[in-house]
Symmetry: C2
Subunit: 341 residues, 2 copies
DNA sequence: CGTTTTTCCGTAAACGTTTACGAGAACACA
DNA sequence: TGTGTTCTCGTAAACGTTTACGGAAAAACG
């Protein structure tokens, strides 16, 4: 069914070498010949077989994205990633690169999946998300010399790979700023308990801002929980029952915020009235919850596009004339003020 | 860096043919030899290069999923698809098949992307979503003889491909049933204006149920809109301003329901009090909206797994002993009763 | 012991490309 | 006309596998 370059060559009474050169825009082919080849290719509906190309060129022209649902993330996964993926894929597609999505089992670590992709050369590069503070995946890829980029920073692997992250530190800082400006002094912080790096960054910003305002950090107002609704539900009462009750809470995750608000409701505490709530990393849920939740929003789709660019710039095969570069960027979040604070 | 089967053979003083047969579990290889090969493979960290395999075997061992954002679907795409994808990918991974995600530009039709995948043989089969009532993609794939399966039915292509769909007809029917049982007689239906097949199925069920209850179908209570929040916002007033105002609305899409509720709010009409609202196809938003929205929920993750099975069963290379089968299934939705009706 | 069968392995072709190399023809130049 | 250059194309190797085929050695059989 599928026509090969041999069919095309036979049909034109030409060698396959010439056909290939004509199609690939090489200079050493007569203009008229090229024309004939292109026309015949269109007529016979020829497209080069990707497996053949990959084998010969040692490049698959596809990029793997590793997405791993968090443990306990039952019903609906990460609405977070779809717009990011959209942007990533759009930019990759411009370079005729395809996107392979590799998901892990929720909770199980992704190493094996990753190894398989790398060792069987299924992709030319990898994009990692949900970076941990110390991340074996990064160590492994660095050691293997396999190209990759990450959404999110990590302490692993040094500065040898492109990374794009949200400025969680600044978000934590600004959230405190805003709350202090509105008269709050007892501000709680709730973040995921996993080793996810953004939890640390957020807390750094939170602490820094408190310090700047001369407010002492109260460990009783900082709590870690499972990174889902249940986690937020379980851990929120803990900070609320501390000796000197907080008047504001910053949640470092939307799902945890929703669970937290449920806990608050059961305690008869109304966000937006009795307590201020700010969420870091907005999702559609924040907009539709009642009360609507003030949140910091990242530009996910542009970030996807940007990370694709950064990854490509680091690949010798796609880098510009100045050669491969390793770019690292941290993007700000935009505050979306709503009712909850 | 990457070791090839040649390295392995040289290291063992064996021919590459034997190595390959040993690794692939062929019978005609000595038990001890096989053992040696397997050990060496582990030691040299050998995995077969996928491009080489693909070329030789004429199969890429990857499946393409075509995901197309709806036009105007700006910020957050389809939270709908993540759990489905999770299930799909999980089952495929069990067969060592990888998942390639191909997204179209929002609004632009996917034909070219699809052609590219098919003609360059990047994938062994395709999974389609967002099936239209008449769907060129299905026509194209059928004609090309390329294996595929669909999430959602279509009128195109006959019964020649596996498909898995939600029973929108029954959901429309049950929604009416429930509302009638609660005393409603004037029930509006709002659905997307695109040629998406589920819109038709839903309306069939809606009409059937009305008929059964002896209620005449009022065209003024049926409206089509853009399949997003804005669409719901724009079109809802239209049914509300019909001569005899409805006491209930069934939305055939969650985003449209949210926009519709916004329009209702602006008219001073409170869902759950002044009007009953039911949504077909639950998403997390329905659960967090205020009031929480009664909705029909599909089992997305199991559906993803099931469609993978159905697709595999239709592929000669993966079918069981009884040969390839074309399975088609329609799955029920589960009603999640909340506050809005 | 001779013959047949089985076991095991090496050889080589094939999958569909791309590309280094070289050669013939055409052309330019003196 | 002789020599060097440019243009254009064909040849063949290479990428890393799998697998059909055949043959040598070993085993089984009479």
């Amino acid at each position: 069914m599928a026509s090969s370059i041999h069919d095309l060559a036979r049909h034109l009474n030409i060698s396959i070498g010439t056909v290939s050169r004509a199609l690939n825009g090489r200079a050493d082919v007569n203009a008229e010949t090229r024309q004939r080849v292109l026309e015949a290719a269109r007529k016979l509906n020829y497209s080069p077989n990707q497996s053949g190309r990959s084998l010969r060129q040692g490049a698959t022209r596809s990029i793997a994205f590793m997405l791993q649902p968090h443990p306990g993330d039952q019903q609906y996964g990460e609405p977070f990633f779809i717009p990011f993926l959209t942007g990533l894929q759009a930019r990759l597609a411009e370079h005729e690169l395809d996107l392979m999505v590799v998901m892990g089992e929720p909770g199980q670590y992704q190493q094996e999946r990753l190894r398989r992709v790398v060792e069987t050369r299924r992709a030319d590069a990898v994009v990692l998300a949900n970076t941990r503070r110390e991340d074996d995946r990064i160590d492994y890829l660095s050691k293997a010399g396999f190209p990759f980029a990450t959404l999110g920073r990590s302490q692993s692997g040094g500065d040898t790979y492109p990374s794009l992250d949200i400025d969680f530190e600044r978000a934590g800082d600004e959230a405190v700023d805003r709350l202090v400006a509105r008269g709050h002094r007892r501000i709680a912080a709730i973040r995921p308990s996993l080793d996810l790096n953004f939890g640390y960054l957020f807390l750094d910003g939170y602490r820094k801002a408190l310090k700047r305002h001369g407010i002492e950090v109260d460990p009783g107002l900082i709590a870690d929980g499972f990174i889902n609704e249940t986690g937020g539900y379980q851990v929120t009462p803990r900070v609320m029952l501390s000796k000197d009750r907080p008047t504001a809470i910053i949640f470092n995750n939307d799902a945890m915020a929703l669970g937290g608000c449920k806990a608050l409701a059961e305690m008869g505490i109304r966000p937006g009235h009795d307590i201020a709530v700010i969420v870091i990393v907005d999702t559609p849920l924040c907009r539709y919850f009642s009360p609507t939740l003030t949140a910091f929003r990242p530009a996910l789709e542009p970030m996807g596009r940007r990370l694709a660019e950064m990854l490509l710039a680091s690949l010798p095969a796609h880098a510009g004339p100045e050669g491969p570069r390793t770019i690292r960027e941290v993007w700000p979040l935009e505050l979306v003020a709503r009712e909850s604070d």
